[in-house]
């Protein structure tokens, strides 16, 4: 029992490694901002492409979503980070993560948006058109607000996944939260920094997970 506490909940080690972890957290938050924003915007573009009446827009978009939903994000990340230099393209770890997750997230967000767009009755678009709104205006003012509201729980739960995904950046030595914690572990020979990192993730994400459950319950009822 003592060794368990000492190994996983060693307060001294935690206190020592806290500054390093907070630095990592800051990087994680920056990553989240970049990756979530790009994913939300990119996903919308892909979703609209997915639903385009034009075949030469729709097909590439469908292939894109299926392709990047099929590839594990870590594989994508490693391919970009260690593969691209072979083609003479050097990318920083941060850029590699942003590109890899943009490809991955945008296809997940696209699926969520698509479900939302489909859920808006056709009459809404027709009413908007009939009152002389352009396609873009109808989309922005009439269709999207309803679509997003209908899939808010899914958008949220996808965003939780994106935040969790940023921990993969540690594999290519980007000093975000998990990487910093693992560094601290290897220096102190003690797993407490990893536990501390887990606690930080929990503090960050537990409220969101609760919110997702709450939303889902309300929708089911």
């Amino acid at each position: 029992m003592d060794s368990l506490l000492d190994q996983f909940f060693n307060l001294d080690v935690m206190r020592q490694s806290l500054p390093l972890l907070l630095n990592g957290l800051w990087m994680t938050l920056q990553l989240c901002c970049a990756v979530i924003l790009l994913g939300l915007v990119g996903g919308l573009v892909v979703a609209l492409g997915n639903m385009s009446p034009r075949r030469w827009v729709r097909w590439p978009a469908v292939v894109y979503t299926d392709l990047f939903r099929a590839l594990p994000p870590l594989v994508l990340l490693i391919f970009i980070y260690s593969g691209l230099p072979f083609a003479g393209i050097n990318v920083s770890p941060f850029t590699a993560v942003v590109i890899a997750f943009l490809l991955n997230n945008s296809s997940y967000y696209a699926e969520v948006y698509r479900a939302g767009l489909i859920s808006v009755p056709k009459g809404q678009a027709e009413a908007a058109k009939a009152t002389g709104l352009s396609k873009a205006q109808a989309l922005i003012h009439v269709i999207l607000p309803q679509a997003i509201r209908n899939v808010l729980p899914d958008l949220l739960s996808n965003t939780v996944e994106v935040v969790k995904l940023t921990s993969l950046a540690s594999v290519i030595s980007l000093s975000e939260l998990l990487y910093s914690a693992n560094m601290a572990r290897s220096v102190t020979y003690n797993a407490s920094p990893l536990v501390l990192a887990a606690l930080i993730y929990l503090i960050l994400l537990w409220p969101l997970v609760r919110l997702v459950s709450h939303f889902q319950r309300r929708l089911a009822a």
């Binding site: 190994q7 299926d66 392709l67 594989v75 072979f86 594999v171 929990l202 997970v209 009822a221």
Partner: protein, 224 residues
Amino acid sequence: MDRFLQTFFNPVVAAKYAPDIIAGIWVTLEIAAAVIIAGIGLGLLLACLRAYRIKVLNFFIICFADIFRALPPLVVILILYFGFPSIGIRLSGPMVLFIVLSLTLAAFAEEIFWAGFSSVEKGQWEAGIATGLGFSRTLVYIALPQAVRLAFPPLVNRVLAITKMTALGSPIGVSEILSSATTAQSFSGSATPLTMSVAAYLAIFVPMVIVARWLEGRTAWKKR
């Protein structure tokens, strides 16, 4: 262009490392299958237990589901792999991967099944109990089949997402596809093994994505 092909699609390198990658595919498939069975089984069990509405038990089930939905699996993998040996529990890489992914899948599956149970109409439960089935048999014969049907499409998506996480074995040296490929890449000095790993993952998961899409389309149709 030629150089590009030589780096990413070098047939000599491909031939040399194909056996490694294929071995990696088997490891990936084995772990994935074990995770799917254990994760869904445990998730279903927890959802059923939760239906009995025993306060203490439910508290723990909900905590478990929340924690494993909120934690990045890689964090838990590192804790188990690097932390546990110092308290005398030495788990192999594949075992750690299996445990963590199963628990993660179980947490999500529990929530999905529970949502399915919650949307089974109250009248269905009442009908079962009124016809003398008793709670447990009503649960198994009446509520469960309806819940499972509702749970199917979201579950397939989640299974897909979590089996893809077998790639997380590479940081702890599980010789699945990705780590076979990165090892081969550093030995050969060529990007071809990475290309092969991408191809292998696509071959495994594109069919699953298409099945998932098809399932979603079917249920969306029914809802109309």
